[in-house]
Subunit: 149 residues, 2 copies
């Protein structure tokens, strides 16, 4: 599991074991995607509602509550979240900062899609999957493109 708690860029992945092709990269990057989604969502729920309850998280992600709770456990293990039984979920410093970076990236991806003419619905929907595969170089290019207008 990549160490998602790092600062700086959004993709703090450890080196690929060897010369694994670009396929391997895409696959490895996939690992952190779920955690990123959870952290982003929890941050959203906390911001506009004050609390993040497992049931809400599960409903929003379209999974069973048990699945959400299990993943929240992983979040805790990874040092991204804290939660006492029956008391809701909160983010650590690391979790907050990851959430911020994920959110920023999400916005750039959606804006880029819209800018090239993707319909709003599709842009929002596809961005959710795409964003986890956007490298820093690509993200920077997107930002430049948007800045140019």
């Amino acid at each position: 599991m990549p160490d998602l708690t790092m600062e700086t860029p959004i993709r703090p992945l450890p080196e690929e074991p060897t010369q694994a092709s670009r396929f391997g990269k895409a696959r490895t990057a996939q690992s952190g995607a779920l955690l990123e989604d959870y952290v982003e969502l929890i941050s959203d729920l906390l911001t506009d509602g004050g609390e993040a309850r497992p049931t809400d998280i599960a409903r929003r992600l379209g999974v069973a509550h048990a699945t959400a709770i299990k993943t929240i456990g992983r979040l805790k293990r990874e040092g991204l979240a804290v939660a006492k039984p029956y008391r809701g979920v909160f983010l650590t410093e690391a979790g907050e900062s990851l959430a911020a970076r994920v959110r920023a990236r999400h916005r750039v991806v959606v804006d880029l899609l819209l800018a090239v003419g993707v319909p709003f619905e599709a842009a929002e929907s596809d961005a959710e999957g795409i964003e986890h595969h956007v490298s820093d170089a690509t993200l920077a290019a997107f930002a430049r493109y948007l800045a140019r207008g």
Copy 2:
């Protein structure tokens, strides 16, 4: 497992069980990604080399040969490939047509990335992950954008 053998668009996914949000969609789409990669690669190997051997596939995908062989088994179960022991892998009609669609989509995604200023290396690399999350609507928008120049 989505039925990847269908014709028409590139995303022949069965309906989501309920109102699962866009997160769920992204997750579900993920299922077929690996098979798409395999089929695309096998098609490539067959085209410029005449044969697709498990070891080559494994090396190109950066996985152990056992993993490749296991996945080839899935390809067979899904009706996308055929293979007799020690005789290499071949694609069925369905496999070929999926490969063609995947390849076409890959090209559009890479071209779009390049068009907005993503460096070549990053474009090729990120496209591998991104392409599996590009809906038909988004793909069409990409094509339009590229056509406009």
